[in-house]
């Protein structure tokens, strides 16, 4: 039977992020988690394949212990099994190490997979890099931003729009796709699914040691990119207030920003009147 792996990530509910109204700082610890929207669509694409031709679906996530909720939701929606990778040493991973870690667990537990489905991007880090990099790590072909997907024999047939081109693509399996969010809403949880997920469901947990992952490879330590600073752009804004007559305001605006505005417009605005 076809073996599908869906990579899902638990993200904060961005629309409800608690803000400190004074400093405009984010109070992340208060944010509630949810399954990243594009991952939900990736799961839906997997479920559609299973409905049509049958498949076994494993959902994988790396995150804090609370990420188990996203896995339970995936099981409730129809995944057969969930794998939770959680280890404090994995925290702070960039896409380089995230894809490395995910590849290790997939190679260990589902080495004979046919297709991996990721979301196109997450709403928190929004890199859209983990999918393509996981494909490289496993040395399989990958196609990003997929809209439509069918499986025929050992090939996936894909439709997508990229850079204003509408494409039909055939990808050899095993392979990886990243799925876009579309306007078509994914399915709801069934009652039976709900019972299954919150009863004795098939979720296994791994940490770095059980995967044989060296500390140097994972989390912030293994990451190639280092975050130096995080700031709220809003706190930086609102610095400049212009008041007065309309003429004075426009004079100030153009004196300060003619280059910036002209640069984007693609015209020289410096030229003085007359």
């Amino acid at each position: 039977m076809l073996k599908l792996v869906v990579c899902i990530k638990q993200v904060p509910q961005v629309s409800e992020l608690p803000w400190d109204p004074e400093t405009w700082h984010l109070q992340r610890e208060l944010a509630e988690g949810m399954m990243n929207p594009a991952c939900r669509f990736a799961l839906e694409a997997a479920l559609k394949i299973r409905d049509k031709i049958g498949a076994r679906i494993t959902a994988v996530t790396m995150g804090p212990p609370s990420a188990e909720e996203a896995l339970r939701e995936a099981v409730a929606l129809g995944a057969d099994k969930g794998i939770l990778l959680t280890d404090r040493k994995m925290a702070g991973a960039d896409t380089y190490t995230t894809s490395l870690t995910l590849s290790k667990v997939i190679q260990k537990i589902i080495p004979d997979f046919d297709l991996i489905l990721c979301g196109a991007s997450t709403i928190d880090s929004d890199t859209a890099q983990v999918g393509p990099q996981l494909a490289e790590e496993l040395d399989i072909p990958g196609v990003a931003y997929v809209h439509e997907l069918t499986i025929a024999g050992n090939k996936a047939r894909i439709r997508r729009v990229a850079d204003g081109f509408s494409e039909t693509i055939e990808m050899e399996l095993p392979g990886l796709v990243t799925i876009n969010t579309t306007s078509e809403a994914p399915r709801y949880m069934s009652f039976r699914g709900f019972q299954q997920a919150f009863g004795e469901s098939d979720i296994i947990t791994h940490d770095a040691a059980s995967l044989g992952l060296h500390q140097e490879w994972i989390g912030a330590r293994g990451s190639a990119t280092k975050i130096r600073n995080v700031y709220s752009p809003i706190a930086e804004r609102g610095n400049l207030v212009l008041t007065g007559t309309n003429k004075k305001i426009l004079d100030q605006l153009f004196t300060l920003f003619d280059d910036r505005i002209g640069g984007v417009v693609g015209k020289d605005l410096k030229t003085e009147k007359n």
Binding site: Q133, A144, I169, A224, T225, V230, R237, N246, L250, V265
Partner: protein, 333 residues
């Protein structure tokens, strides 16, 4: 190996050359940074029949072109392009590789970074060189609510994808010359596992508002349908698009397509003008990815004024008119 210049590479992405000049914008920024690290700007061009692009890249500031021209490269292919880029980068060891954040670029760069075992920052809106000569990359996260500043201290090359429209291209100079290094396709190309069955320009379903580099957004504070309509004139002059808040759509001053916010579109222009908008969260959640916000509101305490880079306290309709007049005089046609 002798004294090799530290190279900043730009991927020559020309597939949508006439709509998207991100490669030229990156060459310009790379020039500025090359000056700071004593390096050179190289553009990697993969394709067939590329002469036109090569001459544009040189005219806009490239010092060197790595050129692989081959009939097999007539269509963009992820696997072939990543293979060629990896091979060339391993040989030449650039310090930095910049890729425009087109759909292709955002898929291509992670493949290349992984193959090279290096770091990559997605969708940067600003780049810099720090005192140690490292590339500082700034990119929005949490849907633009935060900006993260990252560096790649140890591994090379340092890689970033960069959003189109952020940097300004240099004026062209067709008397410039550059070294062209021809890099032939190797004979041992791995076979593609991804096959393009068909590829057609998609029937203009591109969303102009969501892609626009300049957006002029208007709210109830514009006062009337007539005054609101002048925003279209302003947008036209700026080469931008018009957005609207929900009351404006309800009042029928603008159509539903223009709605920006939770119930409408998310925009990410380089410059956003916000006229007569209070700044309710349902609206502002969808404008946070804007790089530079100029808000006009008669109430200095309106929430939009807090998140604006420039807060203009004045009548929105009047500033719109004055801006139109001013621009007409400044733009020499």
């Amino acid at each position: 190996m002798g004294e090799k210049k530290r190279a900043i590479w730009v991927f020559g992405d020309f597939r949508n050359y006439f709509q998207n000049r991100v490669t030229l914008q990156l060459i310009s920024k790379a020039r500025e940074m090359a000056g700071m690290i004593g390096g050179e700007v190289c553009v990697v061009v993969l394709g067939s029949q590329t002469a036109e692009y090569v001459s544009e890249y040189i005219a806009h500031g490239a010092d060197k072109i790595y050129l692989t021209e081959d009939p097999r490269l007539v269509e963009y292919s992820m696997e072939t392009y990543s293979f060629l880029m990896e091979r060339l980068a391993r040989r030449e060891k650039p310090e930095i590789i910049l890729v425009g954040a087109t759909s292709f670029g955002r898929e291509f760069a992670p493949h290349v970074a992984k193959r090279l075992g290096t770091g990559l920052t997605a969708d940067c809106i600003d780049l810099d060189i720090d005192e140690k000569g490292l590339l500082v990359q700034r990119a929005p996260s949490f849907g633009g609510k935060l900006i993260a500043e990252t560096v790649i201290p140890e591994r090379r090359p340092q890689m970033a994808t960069v959003r189109p429209g952020i940097f300004q291209e240099l004026p062209h100079d067709f008397s410039r010359t550059a070294e062209i290094v021809h890099v032939p396709m190797p004979d041992n190309m791995p076979s593609d596992r991804v096959h393009i069955i068909s590829r057609e320009p998609s029937p203009a379903k591109e969303d102009h508002l969501e892609q626009a580099k300049i957006v002029v957004c208007g709210g109830r504070g514009m006062g009337s349908k007539k005054k609101f309509s002048r925003l279209y004139e302003l947008a036209e002059l700026l080469g931008g698009e018009v957005g609207a808040t929900r009351p404006v759509v309800y009042l029928n001053w603008a159509n539903r397509e223009a709605l920006v916010g939770q119930a409408g579109k998310q925009i990410r222009p380089v410059i956003l003008f916000s006229f007569g908008i209070s700044g309710a969260i349902q609206h502002t959640a969808s404008i946070r990815k804007s790089c530079f916000i100029i808000a006009i509101n008669k109430n200095p305490k309106a929430p939009i004024m807090k998140m604006a880079d420039v807060a203009i306290v004045a009548d929105a309709g009047q500033i719109c008119n004055a801006l139109i007049n001013e621009l007409k005089q400044r733009i020499r046609r």
